[in-house]
Each structure stands twice: as structure tokens, then as C-alpha cells.
Symmetry: C2
Subunit: 250 residues, 2 copies
């Protein structure tokens, strides 16, 4: 994998793409997505795992609401991963993750994921580098298991937000009553570790890149959400799924 340098990657939409065209396209994409999700559920052969990673205030929650929240909740599950519970910490780091692997026919969205164990834990040096490397190997084995043994498609999105936009959004959380519940003073300290996080992410992209990462410019929500929706649509479309036929009469 060639090394990605996040500082060289735009966090905004390409200039030629306007909010207006995207809004129009988004309607169509979501309609197609709705139909494809129904087909995924009906055919019951494949499953889809969507991993959402990104720094605080990069817009993971919004993407879940505006893309996956538009689909039939019968076939979509969302699982956030926060600091492990006592029982979770008494197991290997993939134990709690594996439990939420998607069943056939389902879309499973991870709000943060197993990657936190090679990101936040690395940045804060809670574990040594040898362990980090071993965890990355274990992650690769784990993702291979889902792909090989349950027909799972894995889409890994990194929401790429600029420092300015992130600061703006974190500030909003101290001012807008509807956003205050998201305020966490730790986020301010974490944001200061941006360079270390970027380095850790870049390493993840290269060592856990066999299933490639999709870096999503995330300063504008309309572009971010459209890109995610479009990628999911294209992935499901590529599966060439078919509705099962009526069973033969007995």
C-alpha cells in the first residue's frame, strides 16, 4: 500500500461539484439504496458491514442519520463502540466486535469500531507498538473471516475533517442547546493530538488496507453523505442480487 498523507488530502468537495447537483442526485441515490437494501434482505446471501471512523465532530452521527436512517430499520443495525465494559475488557479486543458482525441479508453500521484499539490506544501509548502490530494482523484475519465465511462486504470510511471545521463544530457544542449533550471536555484535548491521530490513521490505511479505506472529505455534510450513500449504492449494485422466485408448487 502506498502511504497516504492526510495533510495532502482535501477535506472539501472538488470545486466542480456543487451543493445543488449533489442534493438532486442524493434523492435518486437514496431511492436506489432503499430498493437495494430490500433486495439484500430478500435474497439473504450477502451482508454489508459499514465501518465509520473519524475524529470527534467529523460527522459520523450525521452520516448515520442521513444515509442509513433513510432505510428500512428492519434490515439495518447500528452499533456504537465506546470504552470497553469490564466484561468486554476481559476478552480479546475483537470479542465484542464479532458479536455485531452482520447476519446474512443485513446492513450493519459500526460507529467507531475495532480500529479504536489501534488508534486511541496507540496515540495515548496505552499499549506497546508490538501489540499494536499484532492487533492489526488480527484485524486483517478477522475481516478476512467475515468476507470469506459469510459473504460480507466491508466498507471502511474515514471521515476527513479539517482542523478549522472540527474546531468550529466543537465550539458549536458549547453554544447550541441541541448540541450540548455531545460536548465532552476530553474532545478538546483529543483534538490537540490531531497529528498523532493522523499518523496512526495513515498506518492503519497501509497495514489494514487489503480491504481499502475510503477517505471521505467531510467538511461539508452534503458532500460527505452523498459520497457515502453513493459508495454503498455502488457496492450493493455490484452484487448482482436477485429476488428469490416463488417456491415450486408441491
Amino acid at each position: 500500500m502506498p502511504t497516504v498523507k492526510l495533510q495532502n488530502i482535501a477535506s472539501t468537495a472538488p470545486k466542480k461539484i456543487t451543493k445543488e447537483t449533489v442534493k438532486e442526485s442524493m434523492q435518486k441515490v437514496l431511492e436506489e439504496l432503499d430498493e437495494l437494501q430490500n433486495l439484500l434482505y430478500a435474497e439473504h446471501k450477502h451482508s454489508l458491514l459499514v465501518v465509520l471512523q473519524g475524529m470527534d465532530a467529523s460527522g459520523k452521527d450525521g452520516a448515520i442519520r442521513d444515509v442509513f436512517g433513510q432505510l428500512n430499520p428492519l434490515g439495518v443495525k447500528v452499533q456504537p463502540f465506546k470504552a470497553p465494559t469490564e466484561l468486554e475488557a476481559d476478552h480479546d479486543f475483537l470479542w465484542r466486535i464479532h458479536q455485531h458482525a452482520p447476519a446474512k441479508g443485513m446492513i450493519q453500521v459500526f460507529n467507531r469500531s475495532h480500529y479504536e484499539d489501534v488508534l486511541v490506544q496507540r496515540v495515548h501509548k496505552w499499549v506497546d507498538e508490538k501489540t499494536i502490530r499484532r492487533r492489526m494482523d488480527a484485524i486483517n484475519d478477522f475481516e478476512k473471516l467475515l468476507v470469506t465465511h459469510n459473504n460480507t462486504q466491508i466498507l471502511k470510511f474515514y471521515l476527513h475533517v479539517s482542523q478549522e471545521e472540527q474546531q468550529k463544530r466543537l465550539k458549536e457544542r458549547t453554544e447550541d442547546p441541541r448540541k450540548m449533550w455531545k460536548y465532552n471536555e476530553k474532545d478538546i484535548a483529543e483534538a490537540k493530538l490531531r497529528k498523532l491521530y493522523w499518523k496512526a490513521y495513515e498506518d492503519v490505511f497501509s497495514h489494514c488496507g487489503k480491504i481499502p479505506w475510503i477517505i471521505v472529505p467531510a467538511d461539508q455534510n452534503w458532500y460527505k453523505e452523498w459520497l457515502i450513500a453513493k459508495t454503498v449504492r455502488d457496492t450493493l449494485k455490484s452484487l448482482k442480487m436477485k429476488y428469490p422466485k416463488l417456491p415450486a408448487k408441491k
Copy 2:
């Protein structure tokens, strides 16, 4: 791994070992085991996974009762694996297994295990050989995960019973009212596939042998149970565990 030939391996105790000496020794082994299990629980650093495999009537249930049933149930869990449920079949074959991986401080016993997916399914040709090979690779990755990322000791026992003894035990199930609940007419058909099962087991020993298999002569219950108890005792002993000290006064 050198290929094991099950037909060349004794299913009875070595001649020099008598039932009397073993019975005497067993008392001591179980006492030590009881203490070591308490220590494992108290220290809360390691965990132990015991995999019990063997053909029908090879004595898995008896081993569970007479060895692990002697320990404090607070620290011992037993999980049988039968034909997968609908929900389990909608996931990769290790999904239901991983959920029962032992927490730190615990002994987890598997009555049958993930190995059924490369044994019964192979013998009956329910899956192709390529899938079997891939499953074996996935099993190796999975066991490595538990060892590397949760300090799990894995002991894999194959209970080796002769055709004669197996037939005798299956027949008992049709005659002894206390054993009839175990009777399953499918077992008779499965027993006829002994050669195919042995071949499948031999392949498992060699391809999934990085964590080695312990082949237990299982025609005599007293020997089988003593050997298992002794192996578990020796394994726990080798961990050099220590009781945690009293926390320092504040």
C-alpha cells in the same frame, strides 16, 4: 506436523498403569486442580479453553462431569455445540464459538466445537474441500487471536475410542433406562463412517496442530479422565500464577 495414524494408536491405558494407582492419584490431581482453578480466578490474568472432541460415545460428557464438575462452577463454564440455529447459520461459523471464548480468570469447556465444521461437514461432503481448507486457516487465526490477545491457554483433547468399545456403549443406550435419553439412531449411521472420520481427524491434527492435540485413549473412563485432569493440572501449574496481594492502604 507428522501425520498421526489413529489406527496405530492405542485406545487403552498402557499396561503398566493400573486402575488402582490411577484412582489414588486422581484424588490428589483433583485437589490440586481445585486450588489452581481458584488461583486462576483470583489472579484474573489468564484463561483456559478446553476443547473436547471425539466420536459419539467416546465419553465427552463423562469427562466433563468427573473432571470439571469437581471444580467451583463459579469459575467453570461448559458449552455444547450442536447443529447451528438459524441465526448462527446466518453468520460465519466462528461467530457462535467466539461468543463463548473464556473471560480472564475462567475455564471454558467446549463439548464439541468449531472443529465440527471441518469434521461432520466434511465427512458428509456438505461443503467442498476448498472451503474446508479455508475454514482450517480461519480456525488457526482464531485460536491465535485468543492466545495472543487474551492470554488464553487452549487444550484440545481428542477422545480416542475403539470400534468395539463404541459399539458396546451405543448398545447400552438401547438397554439401560438411565442412558436411553442419549440414544440417537443417527449415531449408528455415524459410527459406520468411522474411517472417514478418522481421516478427517488426522487432517485436523496436522493442519490445526500448531496448538497440539492431545490424543486420549478413551476405552477406559478412569484412564481418560485421569489423563485429562492431569493435563489440565500441569497446564495451570505451568502458568506460575500468584494470588494478588492486599491493596496498599490509602
